[in-house]
């Protein structure tokens, strides 16, 4: 089934369906009271958060992981999306499901506008400029109260489960509000994940990666670097905007304080820990990020002293340990394990796991012929092992 593209699509559709069905069990009232066959509302809320976080992580990964532009300001885009949705609902009475695509598109446009000046910047300069954007956002939201209602924020009504999910039809179709919101967020996340996956496998995705690896070479191959770099910003902002819209529905409230700069930095942490340039990595990163505070309750049970400040220290220590042992994130780690898999499985799952390992894999499948005279002078193959430099350049 994995040999043809059509077969792969069918497999993918099957997996998605199966995924939803499996999710239904613990997240619904099909088996009330049967833990772990039913998650309590705290867990459901956590899962909802993971789904939302995954959406923005997917978008940011497209920009930073696949396209190589570091953004520390995605909180600003989430804010734009969130406020768009809230304002449309509150001030103009739009129904919630209509506001979300609009939020995404508007934020995408804003992303494009940010992407244009970003063309001139790179590396730390771009990172700090986007950080500046995230820093300025709460102040701007506060200042222009005419539109944003200032520091009091905007309250919206979260969507409630439609009538037929009340258990009238069958008791296992019963969903309470929290669970309903979870499926709503899950649906959004799955849709965005599919979109992201398709982008990655398309010409656009390949252009992104080409630009990341060498702008000059990409240009020489006829790829319009400005076009794709701004596109990356726009698409990535679109994702963030959708996340913002979903966030507003789930939380029911938005204010300038909802989007502080730490959030934006956390988004970056999420994708690095999960795995750059990887769909799975974005999702894993979101899950890890939301679940890390769980370790605190673990500690509580161990009755360690001064657990007050443990969260911060623990969080920091975990980050460091993860980066030391999994420098390419969780997805990178999984990728290394799956290198032991037969090539066919690898091929079809490669896009899901991520692009980074692609180069090495290609060379390895071509042991003798790939090297020798084919390596251009002065650049003898991939980066040599000796830790000979802090800068990325490995040519001697």
């Amino acid at each position: 089934m994995l040999r043809t593209a059509a077969g792969q699509r069918r497999l993918a559709a099957f997996l998605v369906l199966a995924f939803f069905l499996v999710c239904w069990i613990p997240f619904s009232n099909a088996f009330p009271g049967w833990v772990p066959l039913q998650f309590g509302s705290y867990r459901v809320y956590q899962a909802t958060t993971i789904a939302m976080w995954a959406i923005v992580a997917l978008g940011l990964n497209l920009l930073t992981g696949y396209n190589g532009q570091i953004s520390l300001g995605h909180g600003a885009f989430v804010a734009v999306g969130g406020y768009t949705s809230a304002i449309l609902m509150f001030d103009h009475g739009w129904p919630f499901w209509a506001t979300i695509p609009i939020a995404g598109l508007l934020t995408g446009a804003v992303g494009f506008l940010v992407g244009v000046p970003a063309l001139r910047l790179s590396g730390p300069y771009l990172a700090i400029a986007t950080l500046a954007l995230a820093l300025a956002t709460p102040q701007i939201l506060q200042k222009y109260e005419g539109i944003t209602h200032g520091s009091q924020g905007i309250n919206v009504n979260s969507p409630t489960p439609p009538g037929f999910l009340d258990g009238d039809l069958a008791h296992w179709l019963n969903l309470n509000e929290t669970q309903y919101l979870y499926f709503f967020a899950l649906l959004a996340a799955v849709i965005m994940a599919i979109i992201a996956w398709n982008i990655v496998r398309s010409r656009v995705g390949r252009a992104f990666v080409a630009i990341r690896d060498s702008e000059i070479a990409a240009q020489a191959m006829g790829i319009s670097v400005p076009r794709f770099k701004t596109m990356a910003f726009a698409i990535s902002a679109f994702f963030a905007g959708i996340c913002g819209g979903v966030y507003v529905q789930v939380v029911g409230f938005v204010s300038p304080r909802s989007f502080d700069v730490l959030q934006s930095i956390n988004y970056l942490t999420t994708i690095v820990v999960g795995g750059l340039a990887s769909i799975l990595g974005s999702i894993l990163g979101a899950a890890v990020f939301v679940l890390i505070p769980e370790t605190n309750s673990l500690l509580d049970q161990l009755h360690l002293p001064a657990a007050d400040q443990a969260p911060d220290v623990l969080y920091g220590a975990s980050l460091i340990l993860v980066m030391i042992f999994m420098p390419y994130g969780f997805a990178g780690f999984i990728r290394r394990l799956t290198r032991l898999q037969p090539p066919l499985v690898m091929q079809s799952l490669s896009d899901f796991f991520g692009q980074v390992g692609l180069r090495v894999r290609t060379i390895r499948s071509n042991p003798e012929g790939g090297s020798g005279g084919a390596i251009p002078p002065g650049r003898e193959g991939p980066r040599p092992h000796a830790s000979d430099g802090k800068k990325g350049d490995g040519s001697s």
């Binding site: 300069y125 200042k143 007050d308 911060d312 969080y315």
Partner: protein, 318 residues
């Protein structure tokens, strides 16, 4: 006019602190391409160390409270050791990894230092002394008073900050330009491979870089603590401005970091003063937007000079 000069002078003082922290950031960035997000918290932590020495409560033991400058020097020594240890223990295992990976490690350090500080010393703000008065040939240096310069007044503390900042800059300049180790560090930052071929232990240079950076950050922390009260989140605002200053001046330029800091300090102050309703009769801008204004300045400058005022566009072989 007096107000303007006044604000400029005060801005220079806070700007000098931004510049010092920015300098610490640039020192590490130059040699490793890493943005050290933990810089602020490291500085805060070392400032708490100094506070312990002043307070007489070192690690729970009662000691005689130390004189300001003795504690200052001891704190610098502590910072140097701390920076070196951090590089060896935390950064070395991830050297050669993707830059973002190392950046996340610094974020982890950020969290650890925040937690450690709150755990060790609590969250209540503490008073931190400014350098004490010194009388030399009838002129008073430091202390709590202020100096009249023409129509303006500058507090001794602000003056101290500027003098200290300039002093550090000069010391570092001499170190990098005229000592063999400074030369080796500069060479290592530019070309680590060639440095190895000269027999330079690149790892040691990196350790030294972190040690110096921690020391410079410590000075920044000790300079600003009297103004903002010593508490774990003390350096957050400064750190953000410091990043902005480093970028403004050019991430690979130490003088740029100081200049960037000074500019930001002045801009921040001027915007804070001159955008109140008194001066600026518009609704859509005001002193509470001063952070936004400062950041706008950065972005504008970057549009004109994408690598900062003194930054160099690095040529890359294709």
């Amino acid at each position: 006019m007096e107000l303007f000069l006044q604000q400029v002078l005060t801005g220079l003082a806070t700007g000098a602190v931004y510049g010092l922290v920015a300098l610490a950031i640039v020192l590490i960035y130059r040699s490793t391409d890493v943005i050290n997000f933990a810089q602020g918290q490291m500085a805060m932590f070392t400032t708490f160390f100094a506070w312990m020495l002043f307070d007489g409560s070192f690690l729970g033991f009662h000691i005689h409270p130390l004189h300001y400058w003795i504690a200052f020097v001891l704190t610098l020594a502590f910072a140097i050791i701390m920076g070196a240890v951090l590089e060896r223990v935390v950064i070395r295992p991830v050297e050669g990894r993707p830059i973002l990976t190392i950046v996340i490690v610094t974020l982890g350090l950020f969290a650890i230092f925040s937690g450690l500080a709150t755990w060790s010393w609590g969250g209540t703000p503490k008073a931190f002394p400014a350098p004490p008065e010194v009388h030399v040939t009838g002129i008073t240096f430091f202390g709590d008073g202020a100096l009249d310069i023409g129509p303006t007044v500058i507090s001794y503390h602000d003056l101290t900050i500027m003098v200290v900042a300039v002093g550090i800059m000069l010391a570092l300049y001499v170190f990098f330009q005229y000592t063999p180790i400074g030369l080796a560090m500069r060479g290592t930052a530019q070309n680590p491979v060639a440095a190895r071929l000269m027999g330079i232990r690149v790892g040691n240079m990196l350790t030294l870089g972190w040690a110096l950076s921690a020391a410079v950050g410590a000075v920044g922390g000790m300079m600003i603590a009297p103004l903002v009260l010593l508490q774990p989140p003390m350096m957050m605002g400064v750190l953000l401005y410091a990043f902005a200053a480093a970028v403004l001046g050019g991430m690979d330029s130490p003088p740029g970091a100081i200049v960037g800091g000074l500019i930001l300090g002045i801009v921040e102050n001027l915007v804070g003063t001159y955008t109140t309703k008194e001066y600026l009769h518009v609704d859509w801008f005001g002193p509470e937007m001063k952070l936004t204004a400062a950041l706008l300045v950065i972005v504008l400058v970057l549009m004109i000079r994408p690598t900062g005022i003194f930054g160099r566009k690095s040529l890359r072989r294709v």
